[in-house]
């Protein structure tokens, strides 16, 4: 009824190609942003921040990054955990080596370092495709984790082999370290998530994004149009790793505070992020957020229902949680193989015509 595009004529190409062409969508987007920036911080409890909001934002950034590589460029990667570890360790080294550097610079630099490492590991993608590339990136996952464990320089020779984030503040508010306020940490992550989503949208809608999708859909045709496959794939690896590096950096410095590489950035992380984008929707920015929300919220929700609501013992609930989440993933993939974003798209199409389908 109210979800109408009739009468909403676009008179310029600029207007026609905007991100939310329908006014209602645009308004809803601004509304969500306003709630995220203004309303949520007022009601944010420690538990909500640490168990739900911050991990959601961090994983959403990682999912965005992986989606650029897998969803937009079609290069399957299982190296996400390793690249997040690079981001985290880069942050640690930068924070300890340059105590005066502000956090935004530290995180952006960590992203750039990861982008460089990612581009290096993207080199094989020119020769190998599909599952074989997945195996090659899997090698990078194990290699990076091994390297960060093996060379004590990366963790400043600490006896435990752990890295821990020193205290840093922005605008006089502590955002990292044990005394960080959850609201500040949340807002810090939110700014990054929003900025990076905007960046991802810009990169995927233009010339570069089209060259990525061209490589994904038909690499031979892409080449005769003038797309250099090496540049397209490497830029996708670099941009993707930039996002993933920032996610790793935030994950370590803002969320975990202290991390040990095999535990925090193991192969399970790579799979979790891959699940997020498959469930959320490949090649969709909105899908990255939905997938991250699903994978973060579902366990929390189940735990609350099973332990809090039904009074199950914690260990039993923890195991059931795995079963239910796994089952839900399978159900979702059968019902809608193109992910939750596609579901939203279909719903929108239907709403456009509702209540008169003809």
């Amino acid at each position: 009824m109210f979800y109408r595009e009739s009468g909403d004529f676009k008179k310029t190409y600029q207007k026609d190609s905007q991100t939310f062409p329908i006014k209602f969508d645009r308004m809803r987007y601004y509304f969500v942003l306003a709630v995220a920036f203004l309303v949520i911080p007022m009601f944010l409890t420690d538990y909500m921040a640490n168990a739900v909001m911050i991990p959601f934002l961090v994983w959403a950034i990682a999912a965005l990054g992986l989606n650029i590589l897998v969803g937009y460029t079609g290069q399957l990667s299982l190296g996400t955990g390793g690249f997040m570890a690079v981001g985290a360790y880069a942050t640690y080294k930068l924070m300890t080596a340059f105590p005066g550097m502000d956090m935004v610079t530290v995180i952006l630099l960590s992203g750039l370092i990861t982008a460089f490492v990612g581009a290096m590991f993207g080199l094989p993608s020119l020769r190998i495709k599909g599952f074989y590339l997945a195996v090659a990136t899997l090698a990078s996952q194990f290699f990076l984790v091994w390297l960060l464990n093996k060379v004590p320089w990366f963790y400043n020779n600490s006896a435990s082999g752990q890295i821990s984030a020193p205290e840093r503040e922005m605008f006089g508010v502590i955002i990292t370290g044990p005394h960080a306020t959850p609201v500040a940490a949340y807002l810090f992550c939110l700014v990054f998530a929003v900025a990076l989503a905007w960046l991802a949208r810009n990169l995927t809608r233009g010339r570069l994004g089209r060259s990525w999708m061209a490589i994904r859909d038909m690499d031979i045709a892409a080449e005769i149009i003038g797309v250099n496959p090496l540049m397209a794939k490497l830029s996708a690896f670099a941009v993707s790793s930039f996002f993933i590096g920032i996610a790793g950096s935030l994950f370590f410095s803002v969320y975990l505070g202290a991390a040990e590489v095999t535990e925090a950035f193991g192969i399970t992380v790579s799979f979790a992020v891959l699940f997020m984008i498959i469930i959320g929707g490949l090649g969709s920015i909105f899908g990255s957020f939905v997938g991250a929300a699903f994978m973060v919220l579902m366990p929390v929700l189940l735990k609350n229902v099973l332990v809090g609501g039904m009074g199950w013992p914690t260990d039993l609930a923890a195991h059931f949680e795995y079963i239910i989440v796994g089952g839900l993933i399978i159900i979702f993939l059968i019902v809608e193989p193109h992910g939750l974003a596609q579901m939203a798209r279909v719903l929108k199409e239907k709403l456009r015509l509702w209540p008169f389908p003809h």
């Binding site: 310029t12 190409y13 810009n202 859909d217 031979i220 149009i225």
Partner: protein, 265 residues
């Protein structure tokens, strides 16, 4: 076609192939073929299956590198190049089996054809507002002209995977045209079409040739079409050239007739 000979005399050679040899292992796909393409003409390559027609296009296009021979394009001898570098030289093509980007809309497919004409680097694109958006809009205007030209306005936002075969072929032509090529290679543009769609396609090809002055090299099996729209025809058989000339000359050539109909022994 109006006076093909006159048209040719005025024009210069856009592409010249000299003694091209191409083999895969022991199989000779093309042996010692030379021919030229004049600026602004419609040049057809015909021949029975396996004659080396598609290999010929792939040589022009840079997918295959001939073991011997010279390729002259636009007055310069071509060194060994990658296909994407050749795109920047002004050659674009369509494929025998449609090679569209299935996950993208018609508009995005044709916009991708503008790739070589867009210059703004990654940082500008990341910011979007400003030069990148400006460039995008300029190219969008060009693409909309092509959409008008091919009469596919109504489907510009449809994902190409959903379109019927004939329209997909048309979109692919649009994508090739978007690059504003000097030379357009069409690999069986009318394969699998009904008469009506074939007529449409012929009209588009001739219009492209007329309005944009694009040189066209096409492979086609429908002899009626070839004889109607081509200025000159090259006939290949078993990787050798067996005929070259205007449609009328080729049609009456005994070797060509033998190749197509077989020789009685």
């Amino acid at each position: 076609m109006t006076e093909p000979l006159q048209k040719m005399e005025a024009a210069s050679k856009l592409l010249e192939l000299k003694n091209i040899d191409l083999s895969f292992g022991g199989v000779k796909a093309i042996s010692n073929i030379s021919f030229d393409v004049m600026e602004g003409e419609v040049r057809a390559i015909i021949g029975p299956n396996g004659a080396g027609k598609s290999s010929m296009l792939n040589v022009i296009n840079g997918f295959y590198h001939p073991q011997q021979g010279e390729i002259w394009f636009d007055g310069k001898q071509r060194r060994s190049m990658k296909p994407y570098q050749i795109a920047y030289q002004g050659i674009s093509r369509t494929f025998q089996n449609i090679a569209l980007f299935k996950g993208m809309s018609v508009l995005d497919n044709i916009m991708t054809g503008r790739f070589t004409h867009m210059r703004k680097n990654m940082l500008w694109q990341a910011l979007w507002k400003g030069p990148a958006e400006q460039e995008e809009i300029e190219n969008r205007e060009f693409v909309e002209d092509i959409i008008d030209f091919l009469e596919i306005q109504a489907i510009r936002k449809t994902p190409v995977g959903r379109l019927p075969y004939g329209l997909q072929k048309r979109v692919e032509l649009g994508r090739a045209l978007a690059a504003q090529p000097k030379m357009l290679l069409l690999d069986e543009p009318m394969a699998g079409m009904n008469v009506e769609e074939k007529e449409d396609m012929c009209r588009f090809i001739l219009d492209v040739n007329d309005t944009f002055g694009t040189t066209i090299v096409l492979i086609e099996h429908d002899m009626g079409v070839v004889m109607d729209i081509a200025d000159r025809v090259v006939v290949l058989d078993y990787g050798r050239k067996i005929g070259d000339g205007t449609p009328d000359v080729v049609r009456n050539d005994q070797t060509v007739i033998d190749a197509y109909l077989g020789v009685s022994h």
